[in-house]
């Protein structure tokens, strides 16, 4: 009994410590955003500002085109996720269901693309987009993000489709569906949790990109994404970290909202393979 209590205490201590490590940077971001810039470097640091600057969010939205940046980030993420999902649903389903010569090697080859660092692809992609006259266009980062998202989501969805019994699409085909019809009418609705988890992963990857946006969109201010826009708030000699933190919070909010909205699907999606 006593041993069990000790085990529980250690477990809870571990959980609290892990949460503290994860949550502290977010907490400090909020403290920084709400503090006067002059208070940021004081020692000892203040763990909550005496007079929080709640007006900072309205102020920076008035000073900077944050909504435009958020809109551009959303367009880029939605575009990249849409393309990625179409490609990776078909690719993942094929890898899961069809046995073709070299299919397994092809699957692994797709995964190796994920192993390449994004920065390695920046220069060749820049060359390609310049030839296609896409530099400065949102299409450049939509396509670039898709190259990052597709390899991983293809494997994620392959894993999900593997857990769905083949008899489901066989039943649909006996009922009169074509193979593609069975995918659309039966397999995809059944895979909703997996699709939600995969789409969210792609969305976050696109939303948090900086390297591609910095490379392809620097000279097109109207197409700046949120991450690129925020970096322009950093001055050469003086940086207002409170404003930058406030802008960062605004940029993080949509992702947080989507996580909360999709949470019930995500739990199902990420554990679906565990039941077999």
């Amino acid at each position: 009994m006593r041993r069990k209590t000790t085990q529980h205490a250690l477990l809870y201590a571990g959980v609290v410590l892990t949460c503290a490590i994860l949550v502290f940077p977010i907490y400090w971001l909020v403290v920084t955003a709400l503090s006067e810039p002059s208070q940021l470097r004081q020692l000892p640091p203040s763990f909550w500002p005496a007079e929080p600057r709640w007006g900072v969010f309205g102020q920076i939205m008035a000073e900077r085109p944050i909504l435009l940046w958020l809109g551009n980030s959303a367009l880029a993420a939605i575009g990249a996720v849409t393309i990625s999902m179409i490609v990776s649903v078909l690719a993942g389903y094929s890898l899961s269901r069809f046995r073709v010569r070299g299919g397994q090697s092809l699957g692994l080859f797709i995964l190796t693309a994920k192993m390449l660092p994004a920065t390695l692809l920046v220069i060749p992609l820049f060359g390609i987009f310049r030839n296609l006259e896409l530099i400065g266009s949102l299409w450049s980062i939509i396509l670039a993000h898709a190259t990052l998202i597709i390899p991983f989501t293809t494997w994620m969805l392959k894993g999900y489709f593997d857990t769905i019994p083949r008899e489901l699409e066989q039943a649909a085909m006996v009922d009169g569906c074509s193979p593609l019809g069975a995918l659309v009418r039966v397999i995809l609705p059944v895979s909703a949790p997996g699709l939600a988890a995969t789409a969210l992963y792609g969305f976050v990857l696109s939303w948090s990109d900086y390297a591609y946006a910095r490379t392809f969109l620097t000279n097109a201010q109207g197409n700046w994404t949120a991450n690129l826009g925020i970096t322009t708030m950093k001055g050469e000699y003086i940086s207002n970290w409170s404003d930058i933190s406030a802008a960062s919070i605004l940029v993080a909010l949509p992702i947080l909202a989507i996580y909360l909205f999709l949470e019930r699907y995500l739990v199902g999606g990420l554990t679906a393979g565990a039941e077999k």
Partner: protein, 373 residues
């Protein structure tokens, strides 16, 4: 409804042949059961019939139509799967109506047919539920309902009872048979359970290693098995096999069994002289007490089921067949099982006199395994 003709269908995966020249004619309205051990090719044949797998060669016709190269949806068949394969995101009603919707049937007609099938199966109160809210037996009925509403040329059933518990399986088995009598739709039913095959089939097709071993009505298959495999597979417990040598005697043939010269029930006994044979004796054809051929044994084990007893006896060494690689179960090879109906209770250590009627014996060629009559 229509008959089905399967003509020399083969299926190979690379060098592995899983179906070898499978041919079968199924009459309109017939209930045919494909039975055999795991890996014998019965489910593969059913999937080829459904169009879910492609045959390596051969031809399949349903009614007058050659369907060999048609997509599953164009064959006008309905299939019931082992795990039911209900669409989890659709209600029972929409599951059942899905096939009709795919064929462009109008909504009113779909409703009418779904309601009618649901009434037949007693699931009309479940129509708005989703599959996850149903018990195993209810799901099974929905799967049957999905097949019925289509009014197809044939039903294909792939071990539809194997996920049910023993009691429900017996109940549903009877219901499927009753449903077949009512609808008279040609049905091909796959199972590895010989009891299902015996109780449901008009004809049984028994398979081993992709080859048909025998096609016959259940009673014929039980009484006149074509070979050792069929004799051992059909019946529960399976037939006892005793190694022996045939000898000619007075125009007939005899074999020494348990120390007695026993006349074998074969037509041309003279031709068997000196031949190695296997004698088959069904457990239920052995009686307690003296009879035409009697022998005394010390039972190794007695299992009592109340109304009957299974008596396990060690076979004398001279009657044991050689162990075959990956073949018979060792216990069956070295044991004789007697199934005694309404037996007297007896202590297991007591010796026991058993007997059999030689006319009930089955004789097989030891080399080929084929029955000799």
């Amino acid at each position: 409804m229509a008959g089905i003709r399967i003509d020399s269908v083969t299926k190979s995966y690379g060098g592995l042949a899983v179906l070898k020249a499978f041919s079968l004619d199924i009459a309109d309205g017939e209930f045919v059961v494909l039975v055999g051990p795991s890996g014998c090719g019965k489910s593969t044949m059913l999937k080829i019939l459904a169009g879910l797998e492609e045959a390596s060669s051969g031809k399949i016709s349903i009614g007058d139509r050659d369907v060999t190269d048609l997509a599953p949806g164009d064959r006008d068949i309905a299939m019931v799967f082992q795990n039911y394969a209900l669409y989890p995101h659709l209600t029972v009603a929409r599951n059942m109506g899905f096939g009709l919707k795919m064929r462009g049937t109008d909504a009113g007609e779909i409703d009418r047919r779904v309601n009618e099938a649901a009434k037949i199966l007693g699931i009309d109160h479940l129509l708005e539920r989703r599959p996850r809210a149903l018990s195993g037996g209810q799901r099974q009925r929905v799967a049957l309902g999905r097949a019925i509403v289509r009014e197809p040329q044939a039903f294909l059933m792939d071990e539809p009872l194997s996920n049910l518990d023993a009691k429900l399986r017996v109940h549903t088995r009877a219901e499927i048979s009753a449903l077949h009598k009512r609808l008279r739709v040609t049905t091909i039913y796959v199972t590895h359970d010989q009891t299902e095959a015996m109780t449901m089939a008009d004809r049984i097709v028994i398979m081993k290693d992709g080859v048909i071993q025998q096609i016959a009505a259940p009673d014929v298959m039980f009484r006149e098995p074509a070979n050792l495999f069929v004799a051992g597979f059909i019946g529960s417990p399976g037939m006892n096999f005793l190694k022996a040598k045939a000898e000619a005697k007075g125009g007939g043939a005899t074999a020494k069994l348990f120390g007695h010269d026993v006349t074998l029930p074969v037509a041309n006994g003279g031709a068997l002289a000196g031949k190695d044979i296997v004698v088959g004796l069904r457990p239920e054809h052995i009686a307690a007490g003296p009879g035409q051929v009697s022998f005394t044994v010390a039972p190794r084990l007695i299992e009592s089921l109340g109304s009957e007893q299974y008596v396990y006896v060690d076979l004398p060494e001279e009657h044991r067949r050689e162990a075959s690689a990956g073949g018979d179960d060792e216990t069956r090879r070295t044991s004789l099982i007697a199934r005694l109906i309404n037996p007297e209770p007896r202590p297991p250590e007591e010796t026991l006199t058993l007997s059999f009627d030689p006319a009930r014996l089955h004789v097989f060629d030891a080399a080929s395994g084929e029955a000799i009559r």
